[in-house]
């Protein structure tokens, strides 16, 4: 937890120093999304679960600082008993350059079955890059992260984790835009006792922030 605390302190200081007061009037954007979710865990052998996830996010931007809230839940099939995956994220970020943003915050994943619920609380440090591809109508982004620390309600302690998200967004009409993207999470317990890999292919429909 010590490392996460330092990340958060550094980021908050950066937000305070870098965000000019006159640029603090916040703007809000958000999107809903539908995902094809694929989940593999070494506890289930090579068999994988898949399902359809729905969710969305809200992003509040004030000057160079931003706050993001993500939520998604997916009903998975392919294993017995059936399992739902529910995820939520809170990310505090600061845009150091027009194309570079650094974020930090917790991700909470719950794997819900009839037998019980696994809860993963994972503190992430993220780096995001944005690129304009066609004027102001099409842009791409790639975001990579590493888990700084984690807490799991299982017998084994959290080991390590990484992830990536990338995709493109297209301005549709007015303030609305659509997005296509891919997300990949890899979370490891202990020294590799268990590895969970989650992949998502998502479509988003959003408003604002383009």
């Amino acid at each position: 937890m010590t490392m996460v605390r330092w990340w958060v302190i550094v980021l908050l200081l950066a937000v305070a120093v870098w965000s000019p007061v006159e640029a603090q009037s916040p703007s809000v954007s958000g999107a809903v999304q539908a995902s094809l979710v694929s989940f593999k865990s070494t506890t289930t052998g090579t068999a994988s679960m898949s399902g359809l996830g729905v969710g969305g996010f809200v992003r509040v931007v004030a000057g160079l600082a931003q706050l993001e809230l993500h939520y998604e839940q997916a009903a998975m099939s392919g294993t017995d008993p059936k399992q739902d995956i529910v995820e939520g994220e809170v990310l505090l970020g600061i845009r150091f350059l027009p194309w570079l943003t650094v974020k930090v915050g917790p991700r909470i994943r719950a794997n819900v079955t009839e037998l019980g619920t696994e809860r993963w609380v994972l503190w992430q440090g993220r780096i995001r890059t944005d690129t304009r591809l066609i004027g102001s109508t099409v842009r791409a982004h790639v975001e990579v992260w590493s888990i700084l620390s984690g807490d799991v309600n299982l017998n084994d302690a959290f080991g390590q984790g990484q992830g990536l998200e990338g995709g493109l967004e297209v301005k549709l009409f007015g303030a609305f835009w659509g997005g296509l993207g891919y997300r990949f999470d890899r979370d490891v317990l202990g020294d590799g006792v268990r590895t969970d890999v989650t992949e998502r292919l998502y479509l988003r429909f959003g408003m604002g922030g383009f």
Binding site: S38, V138, V142, F184, R200
Partner: protein
């Protein structure tokens, strides 16, 4: 010896008398001439008055005495039977005092009728300017000069610059007793004047296509232009957008798209080596990469940017509009510019004797 003394006395007396006569002033000559006229000694009167004017009486006498002396001279010549000399005297009288009238109760008809004929054939005008400095608000009021004529005749009234160049023709045509010339403070093209000396000239006495006399009024004109707004120059570059694409957007799109696509494909494979990943990332990476390539071709360096061209045209049009507004505003302000005109003493001359 006695004869010699008498001769000497006679010579001295003659010299004294002669010296006294040579020392007489023009006023005294006029006085004696008028006295001779009243004693009906017209020969003496004519001689004395002519001597008086030859001695410069015209520049010394009071106007009334001057006019009376010329009248007496003309009348004396009439009575002596010298109509040409009489006409010449009356002409001098008319030129000096165009509005003078010979008293019909004092002089017989042969005198008054000759004077009337001379006056009729000697058209003269006099100019009168408003006193002091006159302020003319251009477009609102005019500078006015009064023309008074001694007889009905043709005149030509113009304003000229100090160097003699014509500024504006104020009037051409017949004038009766009097008329008012009005000048709007502009030249023939309607342009405002520069400050400096100007002259109102009225020519009269058209004879065989040539003017015989000119009355002039010198004017000192000061111009106070209303403050105007400076006309803007060219549109500043800071207001314009580039109309031709540079290299950066194209290479940014290509590089960003390709590198993002590669990252989406490679990073999960590296991080999760040994795991079996699905092919979704290839679809997304392909879409990102293709979008980057499309972005490169759509934003190739050197191609025009229609949106910016249109935007700049709007800026240029707005700029032109603002210039037109300023020009209209300045024209309105210039229209209320002021002229401050001060007239000098009027002059009169016969052309060829100016």
């Amino acid at each position: 010896m006695r004869r010699a003394v008498r001769l000497l006395c006679g010579v001295l007396f003659f010299c004294a008398v002669t010296a006294r006569g040579q020392a007489q002033t023009p006023e005294e000559l006029v006085e004696r001439g008028l006295a001779a006229f009243t004693q009906l000694d017209f020969n003496a009167a004519a001689g004395l008055l002519r001597s008086a004017f030859a001695a410069g009486a015209a520049g010394i006498l009071e106007p009334d005495e001057h006019a009376e002396a010329l009248t007496m001279l003309g009348a004396a010549e009439v009575f002596r039977g010298n109509p040409n000399l009489a006409r010449d005297a009356f002409r001098q009288l008319v030129l000096a005092f165009p509005f003078y009238e010979v008293d019909e109760l004092v002089f017989p008809p042969e005198v008054t009728s000759l004077f009337a004929r001379v006056k009729q054939s000697t058209p003269v005008v006099r100019l009168t300017a408003p006193p002091g400095e006159q302020v003319v608000a251009v477009g609102q009021n005019t500078y006015q000069v009064t023309v008074r004529a001694n007889t009905n005749h043709e005149i030509l009234a113009v304003v000229t610059r100090g160097d003699g160049r014509l500024v504006q023709t104020l009037f051409t045509g017949p004038v009766g007793d009097r008329m008012v010339l009005r000048w709007d403070g502009r030249d023939t093209t309607g342009a405002l004047l520069r400050p400096g000396p100007y002259t109102v000239s009225v020519r009269s006495g058209l004879e065989a296509g040539a003017w015989e006399r000119v009355a002039q009024l010198p004017l000192d004109v000061q111009v106070r232009l209303a403050d105007t707004i400076p006309t803007p120059g060219a549109v500043p570059d800071s207001l314009l957008r580039p109309e031709i694409r540079g290299k950066r957007p194209a290479y940014e799109a290509l590089g960003g798209g390709v590198l993002s696509g590669l990252a989406i494909v490679v990073i999960p494979s590296v991080v999760a080596s040994g795991s079996e990943l699905n092919g979704a990332r290839f679809a997304v990476a392909g879409a990102v990469g293709i979008a980057g390539i499309v972005g490169y071709f759509k934003q190739r360096p050197g191609t025009p940017i229609p949106a910016n061209v249109s935007y700049n045209q709007t800026v240029y049009a707005a700029w032109q509009d603002s210039i037109a507004v300023i020009q209209r505003l300045n024209a309105t302000r210039q229209a209320v510019s002021e002229l401050r005109i001060r007239a000098g003493p009027p002059t009169f001359a016969e052309i060829g004797r100016e």
